[in-house]
Amino acid sequence: MSTPIVPNFDDEASSGRKLAIICSKGNLDMAYPGLILANAALGEGVETHLFFTFWGFDMIAKKRMNDLKFSPTGNTAMHMPVGDIRVPQALAPMPGMQAVATKMLKKQIADLGVPEVPDFLDQIVGAGGHLWGCRMSADMNKFTEADLRDDVEGIISASDFIEITDGAQLLFI
């Protein structure tokens, strides 16, 4: 009798794979790539760390994380929902455009069943992900641990980050 075909979920070979994602952007659209990849990595059993720096700090700051915005300004890749025409940059800074664009983006994301940033981070932490804040960004914003999500493991310096990510694959967003 031949061996049955059973999926290999690689449990024995604890691959030791580690992924570190640096989230440096605070616009709503750019919050997602890091989250999606972190979630996917965790779902594959990869130890995953997210490091929030610069504008990405807004993703974990309690006062800002529910309020991320998106604007077509400087983003020539934004297209109208109908006709696939690019949003003209001259229109982008007009009053109201940011709100419209943010609302549209949120709806598109929600329609896919993808959660908002704070809920998504809840899921990532639930799946074992580690969240870290950047020391310099904290200092710049004059924030302390109390201003961040409770599940952020710490505010660390660049050298701490380099230590933690020894052997890890790095992704800068």
């Binding site: 059973v6 999926p7 449990d11 999606i36 979630n39 069943g113 899921q123 799946a127």
Partner: protein, 104 residues
């Protein structure tokens, strides 16, 4: 489509080993599939598996981790505790369903 035998049950599987015909699944087979990947099913496991089967029947596709949490009511942490390291794939396999396709 390869056919393989798991503890006496003959089932159709894809190249990876996931069952291709949800109708070939039953409770006994589930226990064997779990054993094949090193998991012993408890009542908690069964609740998740039953949700997955029911949801597949109405949705036509396997629930993702997020859906198992928001619709099924099983916290992400618990899913990882029951089906370590690769919960989405493992629970789909044991439930005799295809791997979930969604990203979240």
């Amino acid at each position: 489509m390869p056919v393989t035998t798991i503890a006496g049950h003959e089932v159709h599987v894809d190249a990876e080993g996931f069952l291709t015909d949800p109708a070939e699944w039953n409770h006994d087979l589930a226990a064997e599939l779990a054993a094949a990947i090193g998991i012993e099913l408890t009542a908690e496991h069964w609740k998740v598996l039953e949700f997955l089967r029911k949801d597949f029947a109405t949705q036509g596709e396997t629930a993702t981790t997020r859906r198992v949490q928001t619709v099924g009511g099983f916290a992400t942490k618990d899913q990882f505790a029951l089906f370590p390291k690769k919960p989405a794939k493992k629970m789909a396999y044991i439930a005799g369903l295809p791997k979930p396709r969604g990203c979240v």
